[in-house]
Amino acid sequence: MASHAHAHQPIGGRLLTLPFLVCSVLVVIAAFILAQRYGHGLGAVTNLSDGYPWGIWVAIDVVIGSAFGCAGYVMAMLCYILNKGEYHPMVRPAVMASLFGYGLAGAAVLIDLGRYWHFYHLMLPWYAQPNSVMLEVGLCVATYTLVLVVEFAPAFLERFGIEGLRRKLNKVLWVFIALGVLLPTMHQSSLGTMMVIVGHKLSPLWQTQLLPVFFLLTAVLMGFAIVVWESVMASLNFRRPMETPVLKKLAGLMLVVASVFVALRVVDLLVRGQFGQMFGGPQAGWFWVESVLMVGGLALLIPKANRGRSRALFLSSSMLLTAGILYRLNVYLIGFTPAVGPWHYFPSVKEIMVTVGVFALEIALYLVFVKKLPVLHAIEDHSANSGAPTSNAVQAKHG
């Protein structure tokens, strides 16, 4: 127990670094634009229209942002459900990334809602409309954000030495861990089901009743990819050793998930008789960009040696992450053609700056949290246990 309490440490260091300041400026710009949005309506700052009622604030901030937040989901699943203790050191940073991803996706919803002052109707049973896929997504995401707060609470409690509460929380944490795996499985798949109802308006390259399966697969894939990506980035930027053995295994898992995704995609297109759409169908070009990134990213991981190389891992996780982003963007925006047109949509500069601000806030918070709270796995510990920097990760489970 005691060894666990100290297994994570704040990395310390100055808060006011250049990246933090740049992010802060971007957040302030977004705040000014949002003042305009709330004062004069969505039309004042966005290029939204009745043809494209959902723009990048939904497609990127919510649908893609929440997939970024799937790190906590996949790591908790590996560590606590499949009992792979070696992933333990990566759970807490992953849960924190998820907390930001989901928290900000929730905030983005409030930015985008046209009648945001009624948002609480989502939670009132007498307004509930059980056929609505969005109701399920909304309730599930809101609950999951609370679950993430509880899952992350030990970091706060450790930092401020509230030992009694931490111990009590630890006793019931399994309930929240179980919820933390169940809820994303539900709402990440439902994010796909949400677009089933647009029917013919979504290009046949993407419109399928397997949308929930593909969205769940991209959620898991992007969860793994973001963990690997962040891990490589953190080891470069904070000069920490790479957690190579664990990353190797994660790379193997990414390979499996990405391969299943690609295989299912081909089967689905063949079965629906839409295989030919990839040659000259609507938005076929974007299908190819998405698929080439996906196949390229997974191909890099086929040679086992590559799974331990930081450059290969970085490149591959970046490609798979981008492929996942593009898949979701294709389903929600690029592959979508409004019913009675013609309509056009390209996000306005102000719209883009708000999205940039949301992600800048996420990065700024990440920097503050890892420096001030015990989030990242302590490096000093291992030298005491053994020479290998990650061996303590393996021991975390048993000892």
Binding site: H4, Y38, G41, L42, G43, T46, D50, G51, W54, Y80, I81, L82, N83, L113, G114, R115, Y116, H118, L122, Y127, A128, Q129, N131, S132, V133, M134, E136, N170, L173, W174, V175, I177, A178, L179, V181, L182, T185, S189, T193, M194, V196, I197, V198, G199, H200, T208, Q209, L210, P212, G252, V256, V260, L264, V267, V271, R272, A339, V340, G341, A396
Partner: protein, 355 residues
């Protein structure tokens, strides 16, 4: 599933065994998913819930493009009776009008200010009415009041509802959260949101239900001089639509005005008229997406009139709700999964935290 079982049996599984199981598990999942797709041909989809029938007292409009003269009296009447603001394009300002005080209403498309609009189709010389080649034709756009409406299916807070008797689809702004999922999902592009208002609302045709309650006709059907827009029970309107599409050019026939049954808004005289253009056999709204309460007939094919024609004969909610209600039937699936996860999490966190 196989992964869970393995980890239950022994706490430490070799990396290889784990990966092997992961591969097996995903392969099994893939196979299962594939069989679902293969076993479900698009026409008889196992996941689809049954389509919804029209409500018993379904009412609607029949629009006859061959009778429409494009006078747009219906557009003006709609604005009047629903208290909708005028819509003025940048090129349609009065030459001496004070800015912001327009007198000229010139809507070109449905919007948060316009619930009903007449649009024109023109081809080539535009000489002949109701001809697809070198001709022109009109089409009326307003809510079709679907039998199985997507907008009602998607609304998370019951702001969009379909009346169980009349089948009229209406919207309650006091419940609405402004997510615009109805705007996104409508296969006909009907519900609209006001993006230029900080407190914008969703707007759509509600078949003048406030007037129907007082035995008055919907504004558009009330003022239509030729009976191109006819109000009535949907079953009677469909019968009338079938009668018209069977007419041959050169026949002389009767066209009613107002309410086809002559009850709502009082009895009105119809008119006799020569059928000049050949009707398309296609009755728009009879089968589209499970059928709609408002129908249209025309001499020009409906795809030329910019209406979606390549659509299935069952509403999209049959599939999306089918998927959702299969996965979440009685919340049994999620409850079972939660039980399994909770058991594993409980056992495994013990391993992690208590020594």
């Amino acid at each position: 599933m196989s992964e869970k079982k393995t980890s239950e049996r022994k706490t430490s599984v070799s990396r290889r065994g784990f990966l092997r199981n992961a591969v097996k598990g995903t392969a099994a999942a893939t196979a299962a998913a594939c069989t679902t797709v293969v076993a479900a041909p698009p026409e008889a989809n196992a996941l689809q819930r049954p389509p919804k029938p029209l409500p018993p007292e379904a009412v609607g409009l029949l629009y006859d493009s061959t009778l429409c003269i494009g006078c747009k009296a219906c557009v003006t009447a709609c604005k009047d009776v629903n208290h909708m603001p005028p819509e003025v394009g940048p090129e349609q300002q009065a030459w001496n009008g004070a800015p912001g005080n327009p007198t000229w209403d010139t809507p070109v498309e449905l919007s948060a200010k316009t619930l009903n609009v007449i649009k024109a189709y023109v081809h080539g010389t535009g000489a002949t009415k109701d001809a697809a080649e070198n001709g022109f034709a009109f089409i009326k756009r307003q809510c079709l009041h679907c039998a199985d409406p997507s907008c009602v299916s998607v609304c998370p807070v019951s702001a969009m509802t379909k009346d169980p008797q009349s089948g009229i689809v209406s919207h309650n702004p006091d419940a609405c959260i402004g997510c615009r999922y109805c705007v996104l999902s409508c296969p006909f592009g009907v519900p609209k949101y006001d993006y230029n208002d900080a407190f914008g609302e969703i707007k759509k045709c509600q078949l003048c239900k406030q007037r129907l309650a007082q035995n008055e006709l919907p504004g558009c059907a009330d003022v239509c001089p030729t009976g191109a827009t006819l109000f009535g029970r949907s079953d009677e309107l469909l019968k009338e639509a079938k009668r018209r599409t069977a007419l041959k050019p050169g026949e002389y026939t009767h066209f009613p005005r107002g309410d086809i049954a002559g009850k709502v808004g009082g009895a009105r005289s119809g008119h006799e008229k020569l059928v000049e253009a050949a009707y398309q056999t296609h009755i728009y709204g009879e089968k589209e997406l499970g059928g709609t309460q408002c129908l249209a007939v025309s001499a020009v094919p409906f795809d030329k009139l910019n209406l979606p024609t390549k659509v299935p004969e069952t509403g999209y909610p049959t599939l999306s709700e089918g998927i959702q209600h299969t996965l979440y039937a009685g919340m049994i699936g999620p409850a079972v999964v939660f039980g399994g996860l909770a058991y594993l999490a409980h056992r495994n966190t013990k391993d992690h935290t208590e020594e």
